[in-house]
Symmetry: C2
Subunit: 210 residues, 2 copies
């Protein structure tokens, strides 16, 4: 899309293509909302289509199957969430551990804004993975690896700036972060407040060898 937009255009503007792109993006956005709140297995395509105003027949013009749609929604969420992580974890205005705390503060605000109804799509789907199309397992695992890598890099920078001891195993600590974080997000949804998120980061930072 970006490339063709830079080319000189002849004849009628590519109206259909633009509309297609918008509709597809809207379906993904609507699916993200639905899947984050209700999971995949119990989410029908119908409410998503209804919200966007797309007839069922047209859905398959954009996605080969519900599975392909799910994969697109997951990939979209990964991009969104990885960008959020980078925004905080690469912000050198703050010390590495403060950046991690900033990410948590941001998540607290986000969950509060959505009344603790929306958690983490990847965590939710990980929970119901045995009922999902088999390709989802590796997609979700790979996404966790990407997020873990970002935390690991941040912890290695914390080592360099002496916030964390040289003998800390940053790979394991980063893995532990996501294991516990997903539990904290799930509990925050259950109790409808942010205390589990705050308690988790407090213990996580405390457990890091100083």
């Amino acid at each position: 899309m970006t490339t063709s937009a830079n080319k000189p255009r002849r004849g009628r503007p590519p109206k259909v293509t633009r509309e297609n792109h918008d509709t597809k993006a809207e379906l993904i956005r609507s699916g993200l909302e639905q899947l984050t709140e209700c999971g995949f297995a119990s989410s029908g395509i119908e409410p998503i289509l209804k919200k966007v105003g797309v007839p069922k027949g047209s859905f398959y013009h954009y996605f080969a199957s519900k599975e392909a749609f799910g994969e697109s929604v997951i990939a979209h969420y990964d991009r969104y969430f990885s960008d959020k992580l980078d925004m905080h974890l690469l912000n050198t205005e703050y010390s590495p551990l403060k950046r991690l705390q900033n990410f948590v503060d941001d998540a607290v605000q986000g969950m509060t804004r959505h009344d603790f109804k929306r958690g983490c799509l990847v965590g939710n789907l990980g929970q119901e993975v045995d009922a999902l199309p088999s390709g989802f397992r590796s997609q979700l695992t790979t996404i966790f690896m990407g997020w873990q890598q970002r935390i690991e890099t941040c912890l290695i920078e914390a080592q360099a700036s002496k916030e964390v001891a040289q003998n800390a195993d940053c790979t394991q600590a980063a893995e532990f972060f996501w294991i516990g974080w997903e539990g904290a997000v799930s509990r925050a949804k259950l109790v409808q407040n942010a205390e589990p998120l705050r308690l988790f980061i407090q213990y996580f930072l405390h457990a890091l060898p100083k």
Copy 2:
């Protein structure tokens, strides 16, 4: 049932009552399996009835609704799991922290035996709580409080035996335990191995003030 079994019996044996009790127990067992693997929202009553061999009309003889059935299944799981916790955490043959490790070792064996398909029913349902009948939220929260209380008691005993520092906040640590544990169980299901459980308990024990 226990009381009446001890009374002298006259006339025909109470066949129907015994069968009712067995069928109800079987429905709960079958429901436990189904709900632990697939959650509540996407679980129909039909596969559960089919497994036990009960017609749909009879289901409502045992349970007023799918919701009442769900509540019974959750209560059953709580009893089962609380007993398991007590078996380990009250076993004074071991030091308090070793008892905690024994519980984790038991969970590792249990998840491995079920090919990492079954996690924790309470954790699973907590994840999808917004799509569940509203009464489930307080039932699940109360159950977590009961489990947390057991871990807290164990940590207080660990303080008494100098395994944990006097200044440790055992209530918060016990809350942190369940937050992280549910995340670890969820991740173990995703990656289909027990490493997340082992990593979690290692960090949890490390984070306790000594």
